[in-house]
């Protein structure tokens, strides 16, 4: 039984069957990659996991509880964090504030009216935020406004914001999209460090095979809304079905 169990999920947009009978099981404390050509339904699947889309049928269970019908903030409070394709951060706030906000969300829940207390007196929260910033080596940038960070730093900041909540499942939507090779390698190193330091399950959607094969322990290949194979990285390379999905019909 995996921490995340997707069973028989279907999603249709008008005449397009975006997801057809998707089954997926992600084991706890593993890195699971979902790959597939453009339009395979990877992002649709991810959106179904975080409450942005509701599947037409099927079930999505996280740690024994259904996530379907819950709002994104409720799903986050269950222990699922998400990193976006383009980093979603609080661009007008400082780096430190960016990380403090998830700490408040973790401690106080989805809403708390703490309007009179001063943020300066939240010693624990500030310490927590600084610890995670030093983990992603951004501590010296903590007073910068987030919008002035480089793209790579924005990505690191977004990861720090997710990690500080100590999620049980981290979903990453193309974490290296549009990055230069050096940045990509840095991200891979960062994710490896994170994985080594704590118990965390990661589910990565990625185009870049270099990233996938550096990180993933299990790989699911999705094509035209349906999972083709689920295998270890060694067995995926050169798998005939995968070649077919990426390169079109098998050539004679």
């Amino acid at each position: 039984m995996g921490i995340l169990e997707v069973k028989g999920v279907n999603k249709r947009f008008g005449g397009l069957q975006a997801l057809g009978d998707v089954n997926l099981s992600v084991k706890e404390n593993t890195v699971h990659a979902i790959i597939g050509p453009n339009g395979a339904g990877k992002s649709t699947l991810l959106n179904c996991l975080v409450g942005k889309l509701i599947p037409d049928s099927g079930s999505v269970m996280f740690d024994g509880q259904s996530v379907l019908g819950r709002k994104p903030h409720e799903i986050n409070q269950m222990g699922i964090s998400r990193v976006f394709q383009t980093p979603e951060i609080f661009a007008d706030l400082t780096v430190l504030e960016n990380v403090m906000i998830p700490c408040f969300a973790k401690r106080d829940g989805a809403f708390r009216m703490h309007a009179i207390e001063s943020t300066r007196h939240e010693g624990d929260i500030i310490a927590q935020a600084k610890a995670i910033l030093s983990d992603v080596s951004m501590l010296e940038k903590s007073e910068m406004i987030a919008s002035s960070l480089s793209r790579g730093d924005k990505r690191r900041l977004e990861m720090a914001m997710c990690l500080v909540q100590e999620p049980r499942l981290l979903l990453l939507d193309e974490p290296t999209a549009g990055m230069a090779r050096a940045d990509t390698n840095n991200t891979i190193e960062l994710l490896k460090e994170i994985k080594a330091k704590r118990d965390i399950t990661m589910c990565i959607i990625e185009h870049d095979m270099h990233v996938v094969f550096s990180l993933a322990e299990r790989i699911t290949v999705l094509a035209q809304g349906t999972p083709l194979v689920e295998e270890t990285p060694e067995n995926i390379k050169g798998h005939p079905k995968v070649r077919e999905a990426y390169l079109g019909e098998a050539q004679v």
Binding site: E88, E97, A105, A110, M113, S118
Partner: protein, 403 residues
Amino acid sequence: MLGLTSRDFTLFAIVCALTLLAPIILNPFPTGSALGASFNAGYPALMQRFAIFGILVVGFNILFGLTGYLSFGHAAFLGVGSYAAVWMFKLLSYNIVPAIVLSIIVAGLFSVVIGYVSLRRSGIYFSILTLAFAQMCYALAYSVFTPLTNGETGLQVYTSDPQVLMSPGDPVVPHLFGLQMNTAEVVRVGPWTWTFEVGYYLCAIMLIAAFYLSIRIFRSPFGMMLRAIKSNQTRMNYTGLNSRPYTLAAFIISGMYAGLAGGLLAAMDPLTGAERMYWTASGEIVVMAILGGVGTLIGPVVGSGIIKYLENIVSKINENILHQWFAALPDGLENVLIGVVHPFVGEGWHLTLGLLFMVVVIFLPGGLVEGGQRVGAMFSRKSRNASGVEADAAAQNPNTPAE
């Protein structure tokens, strides 16, 4: 001090000093002089407006400045606050305490309803919804609810009203447990005359309290969440935070500020009418906030002060006064100068306001506060060049929103 950082405390102390000494500061010219007659603003009726509209815009800024939700119907809360206060005068007595308490509560209830519906949308749709609600309130107050609002005549207190708590001999003007609002102490020092009025000081103390509360909200985790909503609502939701109750709480707080302002307006002058809720009144609040500096602490006070000054002082400068000013010049030149200046003063004060507003929006998007900061930065740069490290205090705290 008072739970504020030293920077915030300085700002708070400056606002306290300015409001408490306003009767002196706003009368810089000797009474009776030509300049004094034209530019002195230190008379109670105007100072009350400075303070009351200051409260209104400080509250508006908690919503618009922090969350970015532009309410275009805030005057509705001011209006219902005033109606609630006048009804307390009619039913109970002229004591202002129940009047002001009820005006805050009623405005709060209205903002729960209007906010709950309007906050289902954001951006321009939110603004339009609030505008529609406010215009609905205006239209209802003007006609349908005449028994409650006295329609176009406006609501006022009559001697035939119940006033059940009133005993014979009680003052027949608004009072605070017997202390009448229009009691004034007039002090003459040399050629200057200063009027210290109870009503103004009540408004001033309320403004100081409202301003203090707004600093605390700005610096609280709640305030940080509101700024996060303005910055990125998607990330907010995927961080496990429900943005809806946060925006609703901000909306209600700012509605209650407006209710307090409405109650104070009625306490200064116990009558009110539907025109207080008209959409231009809501627009004026928005202009005040933007002119002063949205999202800054002091901006709303500056913005409301400047607009009320233009509205009451510059609008009174007529052609005769201009003739007096330029009397020393040769006739031809005098007429040319008057021709140039005249469209901008008197009834043309809207032109001055419009130009000022355009200049601010184009060159100082952070409002007049940003202008002040730029000037301040110019000076501190000069002094740093001269003496070294003094200006580092400014660099230490770059994460606090500008005052």
